[in-house]
């Protein structure tokens, strides 16, 4: 009996959290039109989640592109197909690695910071204080952070892919001696704007929504103690990473489905 009770409690609590998170998302989105009048709040948050994440994204993108160049060359040269290196690097980055690795880094760098900030605001009763002053903390604190995350993610992913291609070019053309013309022309012939680039952008938008949603919800829902905030931050990183990888599989399957 005890086992069934524990299992039931886990399921009921989990479902309750999912339901709360969905209602919370609705509240955030429906309250965000107010921000049109105070757009500076969003800009401030784009600075915090976007600009400050830029360095890690650019450095990782460059190195991921360079590693792809090295690894790809080693495999392709066995089949005498090293001219396709540009295509391999560009497709891997634009379709998969750009959105996914950016989302994972974004969850670790920006998502955890959002959760910790909001959780600490709750623990120190700043959110309750706002409510006392008839300021809605969801529209004043949560919505700008959520919107900034959603807006910053696709831009970061695009920069990651672009600088990754540059990294691949540096290694492939500069170091390994792949012909520069073949590198770019094979890439341009093989990468389709709609099927590859647009689908990558769609992925990064979805990841942006999911990671920002999890981050602000975990912060808002945190137990208002030091331990609670630390656990919430932890959960943000774990849940967002799992959600990103799971959703990536589902979206890839749907996007490649008709091929």
């Amino acid at each position: 009996m005890k086992i069934f009770q524990t299992l039931g409690a886990i399921v009921v609590n989990g479902l309750e959290r999912v339901g709360r998170a969905a209602l919370f998302l609705y509240e955030v989105v429906s309250g965000s039109w107010v921000l049109l009048r105070r757009f500076y709040l969003v800009i401030q948050q784009v600075f915090a989640v976007g600009v400050l994440t830029l360095l890690i994204i650019l450095v990782s993108g460059l190195f991921v592109g360079m590693v792809l160049g090295l690894q790809g060359y080693n495999t392709l040269v066995r089949f005498g197909a090293e001219d396709s290196l540009g295509l391999l690097v560009a497709l891997s980055l634009v379709r998969e690695l750009g959105p996914v690795v950016t989302a994972l880094l974004f969850a670790g760098r920006a998502g955890s910071a959002l959760t910790a900030e909001i959780g600490l605001m709750k623990a120190t009763e700043q959110l309750a204080g706002m409510e006392m002053m008839a300021v809605n903390p969801v529209t004043r604190v949560i919505a700008p952070r959520f919107l900034a995350g959603v807006a910053a993610m696709p831009l970061l992913a695009a920069m990651f892919s672009a600088i990754g291609v540059m990294g691949g070019q540096v290694v492939g053309v500069g170091l390994l001696g792949v012909d520069s013309g073949a590198f770019w022309s094979q890439m341009q012939n093989g990468v389709d704007f709609h099927d590859d680039i647009l689908n990558g952008v769609i992925k990064s938008v979805v990841f942006g929504i999911v990671v920002s949603w999890i981050a602000v919800f975990e912060g808002y829902d945190a137990v208002p103690t030091s331990e609670g905030v630390s656990r919430a931050t932890n959960r943000t990183v774990v849940y967002s990473s799992l959600a990103v990888l799971g959703l990536d599989f589902i979206m890839t399957a749907l996007m490649l489905g008709e091929v």
Binding site: I43, V46, F47, G50, V51, L155, V165, D192, I197
Partner: protein, 159 residues
């Protein structure tokens, strides 16, 4: 605390860099500029076998790409494949007796359609059909033909 002005400048730089990166992906990495066939007109051709020809495969004349394959479907009336090509409107002086053959670039490369202009007075227009076609080479059939030739040859010599 960082000032409002520099926050705005940084965010502006960030958004601009993001949009530039998207543009680089679209135009430099992808083929958004090359994909468009301007003022295209469509001609169709029937092949007994299209091999691994795909939608968006190039259509060339003398090795220069002048269009792309727009549509491939099976025509149950003639038991053949119907290929619709979208050709660039700038090249509208192809004679009506132009022939189309499906070729392979390199030994194992992708397949494309090569058009060979004929000598007729009239030109292909929107909706015209190319009547002279040569199907794709299927490797198995080719090997089969070579094998029969090799087997037949010694037999001929003995006579």
């Amino acid at each position: 605390m960082i000032s409002k002005k520099s926050v705005e400048i940084w965010v502006g730089v960030f958004v601009a860099a993001g949009l530039v990166a998207l543009a680089v992906l679209a135009f430099r990495v992808g083929n958004l500029t090359a994909a468009d066939v301007t003022n295209g007109y469509r001609v169709e051709a029937r092949f007994t076998n299209v091999g691994s020809l795909k939608v968006k495969s190039p259509v060339t004349v003398a090795g220069v790409r002048i269009g792309r394959v727009a549509e491939i479907r099976y025509d149950p009336a003639s038991y053949q494949a119907l290929v619709v090509m979208n050709l660039d409107g700038r090249y509208d002086t192809l004679p009506t007796d132009t022939s189309a053959s499906i070729l392979t670039s390199g030994l194992l490369g992708e397949q494309y359609i090569e058009l060979e202009p004929g000598g007729a007075e009239e030109y292909l227009k929107e909706g015209s059909r190319i009547r002279l076609t040569q199907s794709a080479m299927v490797l198995e059939k080719l090997v089969g033909r070579v094998m029969t030739m090799l087997i037949d040859k010694p037999a001929d010599n003995k006579k």
